[in-house]
Symmetry: C2
Subunit: 268 residues, 2 copies
DNA sequence: CGAATAGTGTCTTTGAGACACTATTTG
DNA sequence: CAAATAGTGTCTCAAAGACACTATTCG
C-alpha cells in the first residue's frame, strides 16, 4: 500500500468548511397503534379495531418562555440529534420514543428523508422519518415531554383535518402509505400482536388496512394462514397444541411468526 | 392566532449552534445495469443476462495533488452536497449520475441513510444511499469524473471480493437486497427494459434475480403476464397488435407497463 | 428443411371463495 | 339451551405447473 497516502494525511486534507453543511439533523416518529372499540356494532362482529396515529401539540412557547416555532400545531414527536451524543437517527428515535411512552424494545422503521430546502424556516434542516408500532396498552403510560403540551391519538380519517406543523402533512401521508403497505406485504403485523396470537387476532389487525377477500373470508383465511411458511402453531411443554381462552369460551389455537423470510412476486 | 408567536420571532429564537450539526451530507449511488452475454451457453438458451453494479476506483490523490481519503479502493459514485446549491440528496444524486453517464431521466430510488458515527474518518458524515437503473447501452458513454480514475462493472458475485471504501460494503449489500426484492415485488423491472418489450425480454430480466417456477416456467409465465392488471398489450395506429422482430425471425408481441398500482399480500 | 425464437394446448393437481355446518365453553 | 367465538366440510370454478406441441421467419 506504499502507493497510497497514509490515512491520517488524507483525513487532514478534508476541510469541511469548503461545503455548507446542514443547520440541523432531526429524527421524527409516526407512532401507530391499533385501538379496539369495545362496543358491539353488529351481533356477529363483536369487536372492531382501528389504526391510529399519535401526535403531539406543539407548545406556544418553549421551556425558556420564548415563542416556539410552529407553536400550537399538531406534529410528529421527535427532535434534534446532537453530534455530541454520537447517536444515529434511528437510535435517537428509539430513545425519544422510550422517553415519551416509557417502554423500550418498540418496533421502529426508517422510511424516508425530508431534506428539501425551505421545509423548515430555521434553515437547512434534515429530517429522518420513522414509523413505530406500539401496543395500545403501552400508550396509556404516555406522558408529555419537552415542548409537547398535549398528546392524542387520531384516526387516519381525521388526522388530515388538523393544523399540522412543518411538512408533517406529507410525512404523515407517507407514513400511512408505508404502514398500510407493510402490514400486508411484510410481517410487521407481528408488532401489533402478542408473541403468540390467534388467527382471529391476526385477522382483525389485517382488516384495519385491507378488504382483500382472502383476508376477509373466514374459511379462506383460516385455511390458508396455518399453511404459511412464516407462521407456525405453538405447542406447550408437553407437545400439545397451546390454546388460549382470552377471546372466547372455546379455547383457540395460538400461532407465532417465525424467521422465514417472505418475498411475494407480483408476477404470480 | 393571537396566542401564538409571530413566525419571525420564533425563527429568530432558533440557535443552530446549540447542537453539534453534521460535518457533511453526501449522496451515494449504486448504479445497476443488466448485461447480455452474447455467447451461447446451451443450444436451447441463447442469451443469458446478468445483473451488474458500477463502481469507481478512488484516486490516490485529489485534484490538488494531496492524498485522497480511501484512495485506491473501489467505491460507489457520489459526493458531498453543498448547502449553497439547495439541492435535495435525490436531486444531487440525479445530477451526479447525469454528469457521470451523460444521460438524464434515469430511474433513481433512495433506499437508506448511513449516519453511524465513525463510518467516515473525516467526521460526522451522513450518507444518503440510492440505487439507479441504467440500460446497458447508456453506460458505454460513461466517463471518469472528479476523483474517479477508473469505472468498472462488477457482477454481484465478484463485488464483495474487492477492497471497498468506507462502509460501502454494507451499503452495496443493502442495495443488492433492495433491487433484488424490488424487481420481483414492484414494477421497477420496467427500467431495465425499453418502453415496449416482449414477454421474453421481461422474463430474462426477472430471471437475473429469481428462480421462482412461475417465472421460469414458460407456459405459466406467458399465460399469466398478459393477464396482469399493470401490464398491457401494445397496439399500433391501426389498432393491430404491435410486434417486433428484434429478438427473432418470428415477430413477437410488444407489451408495456401501465399505471395500475400493485400490492401483493403475503397472506394469500 | 434446420435453426432459432415465440408462443399454445392439454392434462392433473392444487387453491380460491362461497356458505352452511359443527365444536367448545359459560351462564 | 342460548350466546359467543372458533373453527371445519363441501362444492364449484379457476389457476398452477409440467411438458409436449405448433407457429413464423431466415437462409
Amino acid at each position: 500500500m506504499a502507493d497510497y497516502p497514509s490515512e491520517q494525511e488524507a483525513v487532514n486534507n478534508y476541510d469541511s468548511s469548503q461545503y455548507i453543511t446542514p443547520d440541523g439533523y432531526t429524527s421524527d416518529i409516526a407512532v401507530f397503534t391499533i385501538t379496539a372499540e369495545e362496543y358491539i356494532k353488529n351481533p356477529k362482529v363483536s369487536t372492531s379495531k382501528e389504526l391510529k396515529i399519535m401526535l403531539i401539540k406543539r407548545a406556544a412557547v418553549d421551556a425558556a418562555g420564548r415563542p416556539n416555532i410552529e407553536g400550537g400545531k399538531w406534529a410528529l414527536p421527535g427532535g434534534f440529534i446532537d453530534g455530541r451524543t454520537k447517536e444515529t437517527a434511528l437510535e435517537a428515535a428509539a430513545r425519544e420514543l422510550e422517553e415519551e411512552t416509557g417502554i423500550s424494545g418498540i418496533f421502529l422503521k426508517h422510511f424516508g428523508v425530508y431534506d428539501e430546502f425551505g421545509r423548515d424556516k430555521r434553515g437547512w434542516i434534515i429530517a429522518n422519518a420513522h414509523y413505530a408500532i406500539v401496543p395500545e396498552q403501552a400508550l396509556s403510560k404516555r406522558k408529555a415531554a419537552d415542548d409537547a403540551v398535549e398528546v392524542q391519538l387520531f384516526s387516519i380519517d381525521e388526522v388530515f383535518s388538523l393544523n399540522l406543523a412543518f411538512d408533517h402533512r406529507k410525512i404523515i401521508k407517507d407514513a400511512i402509505s408505508f404502514i398500510e403497505r407493510d402490514l400486508i406485504e411484510t410481517k410487521v403485523a407481528k408488532n401489533f400482536l402478542p408473541e403468540e396470537f390467534t388467527l382471529s387476532e391476526l385477522q382483525s389487525v389485517l382488516l384495519t388496512v385491507s378488504n382483500n377477500p382472502r383476508i376477509t373470508t373466514k374459511s379462506v383465511f383460516f385455511a390458508k394462514v396455518p399453511k404459511l411458511a412464516f407462521i407456525e402453531k405453538v405447542y406447550d411443554e408437553d407437545g400439545n397444541p397451546k390454546k388460549t381462552e382470552r377471546n372466547s369460551y372455546r379455547p383457540s389455537q395460538l400461532y407465532r411468526f417465525n424467521d422465514v423470510e417472505v418475498i411475494k412476486s407480483i408476477y404470480e
